[in-house]
Amino acid sequence: MNYAERHVLETLIYLPMLAALVLVFVPRPQKTVIRWISIGSAIALLVMSVYAFLAFDYDGGARFQLQRSYPWLEILGIEFAMGIDGIAAPMVLLTGIVSAAGAIVAANIQRDNKDYYILLFLLIAGVYGTFVSMDLFFFFFFYELAIVPMYLLIGIWGSSSKFKDFDRPKEYGALKLVMMIVAASLLIWIVIIGIYAEAAAGSFNIEIIMAQVNAPGRFSETFQSVMFLMTMVGFGVLAGMWPFHTWSPDGHVAAPTSVSMLHAGVLMKLGGFGIIRIGMMLLPEGMQQWALLLFIIGTINVIYGAVSALAQHDLKYVIGYSSVSHMGYVFMGIATMTSVGLTGATLQMFAHGIMTALFFTVVGGIYERTHTRDTLVLNGLASKMKWGTAFFVIAGLASLGLPGLAGFVAELLVFIGAFRTEPILGALGVLGAAITAVYILRLIGRTFYGERDKKWDNITDLTSREFIAATILVLPLFYIGLYPQPLLRVIRPGVDAILAGLGA
């Protein structure tokens, strides 16, 4: 490995932290300086993420690559170990893309943008850390780090909403989001400690623990069964698993744009990633036992989320529920335990991350201009927001699984996997995609088309910053949709190794 390859993963963690630290010492009124430091750092992160992704040797390389390890707490066997496999590499890329777009969109923040960016970068560091950690302690460390800033980000910069028969103050959204996810993460905590004890290898390193999984007398079926269930629920909550999903719509309704982008874009993916990382890799028998339940829940997610979204008329509620629905495909893909399905699940995480971020970019733009997200009030925006409409429609089409966009390839692979294992559930999943079309088109029809109200006569199209952010997101959406091979070939070795571990 050359110098850059040795250090790229740790830099992905250090750089956002460094950016946060630098921002601490920039005077508060220097808003422009803060903005450019942040955007610059985020773009540097994007470049490094792309580099890390490209440096991954998908053809015969080791399972975990770009490895780097520092001793940290030897008595407990904790080391600051990093490395990415075929599943983590696309996630790193995703994080780079969404963070860059998010940081650019966050430039719209006027009030205390210093604190905002500090928290945002801590969150980004947490996300990167989770994806690249090979040590379960640090995995959990960064996992929590990614969640906590969310509270303040939503609580301070968010917006409260009043609906016809209920209110959703921003504190509520923020508190619910953080409490639910942290509460669930404690299950993960127990699982990590349990696995550590059961492996009795005196190490939290995933590779070392994996070597113990099949050792005689270790990781009994009951142990794996219990642990997997906890893993599933623990990570499931962050991934919006029914019935623990309600933080998602309410959280997004309250959150500021760039937070929603990062949250739905990458943070929810930590959930799916965690189920693969810990559930599938370290608890293979547990996975097999609970696969059907995961499958069913995934299907419920798909249908339930889509049906709930049908009745919403707040843009963010729709997208919040659609996230619930789309994450269902991730669960389904994982539960197929087939190479195609798991690949699809990984790709779906990637695709959904980007399309939701795109959604939120536009929705945020609309909200800033009109101060409403109510589709009953908004109408005919297309004539005033040409690009905004274009981007939203593209995101919508990706969301309803239009071929040629990233979402379709992912869903298709999930469906193929599903039809090989549980065809009925797979068919329900396909049905979910049809319902998605209904609510997405209703949304587009109401918001962008039709006659325009006089009060929207003075709104403007996306600013160049928003436009650039959206473009960063749109390009991969098309690229993956039309030519997914670069991503698929990286995912492949990761998936194969996992399935070999499952004995499937």
């Binding site: 707490l73 008595i75 301070i156 921003k170 404690l186 349990g194 004890a197």
Partner: protein, 486 residues
Amino acid sequence: MNADFTLLIPEFILAGAGFLVLLVDLLLPREQEHRRNAFTSATAVLGLAVTGVVAATTQMNTGESFHDGLLFIDRYSLLFKVLFVGIGIAVVVMSVDYVAEKMSHPGEYYALIIFAVLGATLMAESGELLTAFISIELLSFSLYVLVGLSRGDARTAEASTKYILLGAISTAIMLYGISQLFGVMGTTRFTEMGGLLAAAGDWDMTLISGFVMVLAGLGFKLSMAPFHMWAPDVYEGAPTPITALIATLSKAAAIALLLRFLAEVGSGAVHEWRMPLAVLAAATMVIGSLSALPQTNIKRLLAYSSIAQIGFVLVGIVPNTVIGANAVLLHVIGYAFTNLAAFTVVIIIELKLGKETIADFAGLSKRAPVLAMIMTGALFSLAGLPIFAGFLTKFYLFTSAVDKSLEWLVVVAVATSVISLYYYIRIVREMYITETEDESKLPVPALLGLLAWVLFAGTIAVGIYPAPFVDATNAAVTVLTPWVAL
């Protein structure tokens, strides 16, 4: 028999410093309150610092027992000595402005803090029941007085009365326990008791009652359930720096003694006390964290939170392993930084606003952003979130318990940990989210501000670079008899 009094030089310096503070107070004219406060506090800090430096430089490799195990001067006690001195310095520093505003006898105040530190130090060193008892009393008496010292607040009288009366009961209970243990074993030295207990077979009622009553006495200091009920009242009523002292020094000293006692005496009969202690740990965590939920007074809330924290510590003590002990010590260190940081902020708020309810923190992020950040860090650390000390130490504690088939205890601990996040985050909400009309900047006293920064840095340091701390704790616990071999 080793009666080398040079081993006790740090303690002598400490005692001397205490008297020196009184002397300085006496020598300065009565009306120059400001100067008296400044000089006495400076003397106190100097004395504590010298003690710490002397101890750290001369006793690094000492592993002696004084008078056949009356006191142990070893790495274990050294760790606590340095910690206690550090706590002492921090509390003195955070008291300076407080004393100037609210108290009339700075000399006595600072001297008593030093004596409390001395008592705590001796607790960490003692290897014999009577010595331990005397040390506890030295600490306790200092605290009884300190709790009641405040000038203005009528609640202090109530707090000190409850504290001393309940303390007296716990003293009596513990003494009765000591007498029972002495009656059964004929000795009060930990090492000898340990051997006898390991060979004792089944425990009879005398032994049980003795053991339980000694535990109860220590449990009172720890505020372990069901001996915790004094804590909220005393925390609330005491002058805030003293609350900080109780929360950190007194707790840490009791943990030091308990850990040594259980390791040296109890190791041979772990099966007898593990489950009962685990049950108590669970009860402590549950009661502490649930009762904290509806609190409105910040000090009272911190009291319940510290009860819950003691439950977490017990999770590390229960397994009676070197990992567990390590975890406990690391947690105590991290907790000291964290709690002192939180109390520093509380003191600043109390001094500037004269109030101490959670609602008074509203808008702090606007009025004093740095304080808000530090307080948030401290609260997140208490809640066990990264990058702060609490995350690592809790993780460490809970990991240590799972080995000894105490999974259920880990589950309880983890569950209460979630609940605790709620009440910590409520304060964060007040500081950052609740809108206030008064957005004027709060002036932060330089000294207190600096202290808060230092403690905050410590909180983070333990959280992200624990290696030096872990080296120290590991060196400390491996001198305890059952783990020497390891």
